[in-house]
């Protein structure tokens, strides 16, 4: 196995690309009781149109299939449910679907290999019937309704709607009650056969393991499977502009919610460069509206912010945007303040002292991510799907200079790409 070591945080990563195309990443944690394994496929809610590598057939799928498939993977032909089986072993098992990947996981202290048996068995054995697909529709409809009542989710979806016209990131991960009604076993099998081929998957394990021994155990449990050609995913053309500036919705909330977004339209294919850019954006966001910023101090003291907003940079090959979200009695005030801060930094530049201070903070935040087996494994998987090595965030930290950060500020924080989504309170 290939070994990458981060000397700064004293962690090692063992990587192996198997013959069938699957990537295995192991991060040993000697002495830790908890173990965590996550197996993911590069198939998320945005992958709704593609060409099957075997048949060359082009497929359009209803919204919410990746998530539906995730739910259905647990069901076994003998009537058992793998989630129950895993829980029965005392493991904390789960699965989730994001914009760009689907993941199956469990965390445990004992019974790791029995759990691995089950995990690798059920993910490799789909079982979809007319009947079990119908039954799931009721459960997922309830899940969709749960999200519909959640103001922060609606806020996020509207922010996406502001930034993108056609991009599939606008699609609700779970789909809609209407779209999932169209899902059939045939659709599920087509997606399974395309995206659950090992060459489209990666497994990350974190815990007290000997990596070489663990790799043998993983290989033993893989079915013989042909490596398949690259899946051709069809996405709408990239949009250089936003869809609309503003969107609002009334809901039963005590205080309005806001999401201020900046669409990043800069083309960028170099992965190491992306990591640097991500670090620079985190530094910038902290300087603009983080805990120690002038803007936050002012908004907090005026009572326009209750706590520091969430700061985020989400990106994949198909989308990229900055999000600043929180609650405020006057979202417009917050927006104006953020915009004027951005302008201020653009014209005056950023000062050396704050830059160095914030950069230290951002470094500390990355290090603290390595406290928990689950957060480590999820991070390595999510980054792997993007073709990024998580250690780069620690290693590239020193290369992010003040000048570089100022350049990112000018290239990304453009006023024509700024949007605002608001959830207002009902009167």
């Amino acid at each position: 196995m290939k070994v990458i070591e981060s000397l700064k945080i004293k962690e090692k990563e063992y990587i192996e690309k198997l013959d069938n195309g699957m990537t295995v990443i192991i991060i040993p944690k000697p002495g830790l009781e908890k173990k965590y394994v996550i197996w993911g496929t590069h198939f998320g809610s945005i992958d709704n149109r593609f060409i099957m590598p075997e048949t060359k057939e082009e497929v359009f799928i209803p919204d919410g299939v990746a998530h539906f498939l995730e739910h259905k993977m647990f069901e076994q032909p003998d009537g058992t449910n793998s989630l129950d089986t895993l829980m029965g072993l005392g493991l904390d098992a789960n699965a989730y679907t994001t914009n760009d990947h689907t993941a199956y996981l469990f965390e445990c202290t004992d019974n790791f290999y029995k759990g691995l048996d089950e995990l690798m068995d059920y993910v490799q054995h789909p079982y979809f019937t007319e009947e079990n697909v119908e039954k799931e529709k009721g459960i997922i409809a309830q899940e969709i309704k749960m999200y519909d009542d959640e103001p922060s989710w609606r806020l996020y979806m509207n922010a996406m709607d502001c930034m993108y016209k056609e991009n599939p990131i606008k699609i609700d991960i779970a789909g809609s009650v209407e779209s999932i009604s169209k899902i059939t076993p045939d659709v599920l099998y087509k997606c399974y056969n395309t995206f659950y081929n090992p060459s489209n998957m990666a497994m990350v394990v974190c815990g007290d393991f000997n990596p070489e021994e663990l790799l043998v155990e993983i290989k033993k449990r893989l079915l013989p499977n042909q490596k398949q050609d690259k899946i051709e995913r069809i996405y709408p053309a990239k949009e250089g502009t936003i869809n609309k500036k503003y969107e609002e919705l009334e809901m039963e909330v005590s205080l309005p919610l806001f999401a201020f977004g900046i669409k990043d339209v800069e083309e960028n294919n170099d992965k190491e460069e992306l990591v640097k850019k991500h670090i620079a954006i985190e530094i910038l966001l902290n300087m603009i509206i983080g805990k120690s910023s002038e803007a936050y101090k002012e908004l907090y003291e005026e009572g326009n912010l209750l706590s520091e907003p969430d700061l985020d940079y989400e990106f994949s090959d198909e989308y990229a945007h900055v999000l600043i979200s929180g609650q405020s009695k006057d979202p417009n005030k917050v927006k104006e303040k953020i915009e004027s801060e951005i302008e201020k930094y653009k014209t005056k530049g950023i000062d050396e002292e704050s830059f160095n201070r914030i950069r230290k903070k951002v470094y500390g935040d990355y290090v603290a991510e390595y406290n928990n087996v689950g957060s480590i494994a999820r991070m390595f998987l999510a980054d792997k799907i993007k073709d990024i090595n998580s250690f780069d965030y620690i290693e590239k930290y020193n290369n992010v200079t003040k000048e570089y950060t100022e350049k990112v500020l000018k290239n990304v924080f453009k006023s024509e790409n700024m949007i605002m989504s608001v959830i207002k309170s009902r009167d």
Binding site: K8, I9, K10, K29, G31, L32, E33, K34, N81, L83, D84, M87, G88, G90, L91, D92, A93, E107, T109, D110, N111, K135, I139, I140, Q142, K145, M146, D148, D149, E252, V253, S254, L255, G290, K291, S292, S293, E294, Y296, K297, Y300, E301, G303, L306, Q327, K329, R357, K360, K361, Y363, G364, D365, V367, A368, Y370, N371, N372, V373, N398, R426
Partner: protein, 424 residues
């Protein structure tokens, strides 16, 4: 055991958790007093005001700057109900010095800042800074009002409130708007001084401190030295449950604009058997602990009535809460299905395998306690407030010893106390 407790002064304890499993060192200080309507709002406000500034570091942005300079050490404070105690919690997490790009002394600085915030607030003329108090009052008001925003959490809170009406545990941890108006910078400061003299204080230091004598650093801190010994007033969480008068379930229905109904059912238990909490913990896991629990299987999987269906055991109160998100029209069917599950528990309609599964679920999570720094602190603090210290290994043994007979015996003393439903 990697856990050692020492008394600094009467009523003030220092708990060390020596561990090299983490990239961070975590310091915490907990101030506990009995939950009362009179003080609940003051405590919540106090936590918010203290974080605004100290005599040495006068404002929040200056505190933040200091912390950022220390590789983003993070300070946090919050307020919790632990049984019938109201606990103000302060945390400071800092990167372990082994993982810094350049050597720096962070532990001593962290301890100083943490205690400075708690024990050395910005005070002028025997009162708190007026601006800080007034702006935090406004914010706390908004926090209290925002209770309705998350419907699931709101429903849970409302069920607790109704079930423990006129009891300390029914109080809302952030307090009440009508009580907020009476608080001034002066009377809050008076209350603070009184609180510091009588509250139970527990300090935790978790991490890898190598050869550094972290205990000396803490004990010699000037703020700690100034504290007086005390007979702390707090409520000990007892092993045995309190007896509640069995009545017809209290049913509460509330309306709001929601698409999904939220059903929360509070179960009480009057059993007095030995090791009751361990038996109830297993009972809860069988009923609604995970994906193979009765509730998940029957409410969600078999009948497709819900996406969320499960239960939570509140150990200190010997209470189980069942929580389901359901289609509003399915209320009667869901309630009926839930009652059947409780009835099945009473009549022993569960297998040895169900018991084993439930035990594994609990044991696994208990074994994992020392893989998370704050969870480990919370565990030992829970033991500190109870009348019976149980180590992690003893805890596991007691869970393993729960039998079907005991489960059935206890389930006969479990009854539905309150049914709360949020609908449109």
């Amino acid at each position: 055991m990697n856990y050692v407790k020492t008394e600094i002064k009467k009523g003030i304890n220092l708990h060390n958790i020596n561990t090299s499993k983490f990239k961070t060192n975590l310091f915490a200080a907990f101030l506990a007093t009995p939950l009362t309507r009179e003080n609940v709002t003051k405590n919540a406000l106090l936590a918010a005001v203290l974080r605004r500034g100290t005599k040495n570091i006068k404002s929040q942005d200056l505190i933040s700057k200091k912390l950022e300079e220390m590789y983003g050490a993070s300070f946090d404070c919050g307020i919790e109900k632990t049984g019938d105690n109201h606990v103000i919690k302060f945390y400071l997490e800092t990167i372990n010095e082994n993982f810094l790009p350049e050597k720096e002394e962070l532990d001593k600085k962290s301890v100083e800042i943490l205690f400075d915030i708690i024990f050395n607030p910005l005070v002028q003329n025997e009162e708190f800074n007026e601006d800080y108090v007034e702006s935090e009052k406004k914010k706390l008001k908004q926090i209290i009002e925002s209770k309705i925003d998350n419907k699931r959490a709101y429903s849970f809170e409302r069920c607790i409130e109704e079930m423990f009406k006129d009891e300390p545990y029914g109080l809302y941890k952030f307090g009440y708007i009508e009580d907020l108006e009476k608080i001034t910078p002066k009377n809050l400061y008076e209350y603070y001084q009184e609180l510091l003299q009588k509250c139970k204080i527990d300090i935790f230091a978790s991490g890898d401190f190598e050869n550094k004598n972290i205990n000396e650093i803490i004990k010699n801190n000037s703020a700690i030295k100034k504290l007086k010994e005390r007979n702390p007033e707090y409520i000990i969480n007892k092993e045995k449950s309190e007896t509640k008068e069995i009545k017809e379930p209290k049913t509460i229905e509330e309306k709001m604009q929601v698409g999904q109904g939220n059903l929360v059912i509070g179960l009480s238990c009057n059993s007095k058997i030995e090791n009751l909490k361990f038996v109830m913990s297993v009972y809860n896991a069988i009923l609604g602990g995970g994906a193979n629990s009765k509730l998940f299987q029957n409410v969600r999987e078999k009948n497709s009535l819900a996406y969320t269906a499960g239960s939570t055991f509140r150990r200190q109160k010997n209470t189980i809460f069942i929580r389901c998100g359901i289609e509003i029209n399915n209320y009667n069917k869901a309630l009926e299905t839930i009652k059947e599950q409780i009835e099945d528990m009473r009549s022993g309609k569960f297998t040895e395998e169900d018991i084993e599964n439930a035990k594994k679920l609990i044991v696994s999570s208990v074994r994992g306690i020392n893989s998370e720094q704050d969870t480990e602190i919370t565990y030992y603090y829970g033991q500190e407030l109870s009348d019976n210290f149980t180590s992690i290994n003893e805890y596991i043994e007691k869970i393993e010893r729960v039998t079907k007979d005991k489960l059935v015996e206890v389930s006969k003393d479990i009854w539905i106390n309150t049914i709360y439903f949020l609908r449109d």
